[in-house]
Symmetry: C2
Subunit: 181 residues, 2 copies
Amino acid sequence: MTQNIYKLTILKLDHRPERDKRITTHCALVSRAFGADEFYFSGIEDKKLIENINKIKKTWGGDFKIEYCKTPLKFVKELILKKWYVIHLTMYGLNITKEIENIKKIKKNQNILLIVGGSKVPREYYEIANCNVAVGNQPHSEVAAISIVLYLLDSNQLNKDFEHSLIKIDPDSKIKKVINL
Amino acid sequence: MTQNIYKLTILKLDHRPERDKRITTHCALVSRAFGADEFYFSGIEDKKLIENINKIKKTWGGDFKIEYCKTPLKFVKELILKKWYVIHLTMYGLNITKEIENIKKIKKNQNILLIVGGSKVPREYYEIANCNVAVGNQPHSEVAAISIVLYLLDSNQLNKDFEHSLIKIDPDSKIKKVINL
């Protein structure tokens, strides 16, 4: 769906279905809508989450992939060995407004992994990441952090069509208009 | 905290503490971090939510206000009578990328209310809003929608300091640095 040569992948750490169900779902939906290629989540396996996102994909199109990641630290280390650029999104990191131009340049030549945290992110992720980046240094939301970074990487994404969709919205100022394709 | 003469207020409809606890919390935190002045939520009253956001405000500064709104449709109608500009954020609306310049102009002369939905938003809100606006016409998240609209209205917000905070982050590429003020 995206026209990148290089992949943009999201890893959401420490999913807990009881507590995080909707947050992780929103993280995945935002990743898809804003142009990421893949979404992995670690923590507790959750087939219902995968099913829900795949249902959305079937209806709304695109070739977004969602998968469970059992061993996230090993996964990140493997990507680093494969020369991926790893960004950990955390409120403690360097402000995205200063880092975005550098990240845009990197994206032209390397696959990118964006890691977003769970409750407490182990120190290893701060150390292993190529860069720790903050979407502002205030507490807010991993859902917002993903959306802002992806929007800054490709602001045209919000106007793009998704291939093979079954329905499509006809944008309107006053009413709901849905087109069956 | 914001330097607007005119107010920017968020209304989150239909809060259900059991199901939406973290989503509404994230909506409020994003509203604060990205520069809104006030946050109202309708649905079920939730003192814990208000307490949590006020704790964040005490620690991290600013003068953001959160309040429960018992009668949201009445509230919106009253603001319209007071010449507020009301934007309903919905995936069925006009794409924000086309509407943002118009909204920026309006913000110089009018208070703005941004409404974000719950599960099913009653038709009245679509009709009563001055405009229905979509952050892309794909399903994703009210948390992301708020963050993108507020970011587009004031992209400098992510670099601003919040007044009267007890702590502050010293942004770093590798470790957590917190300054006690």
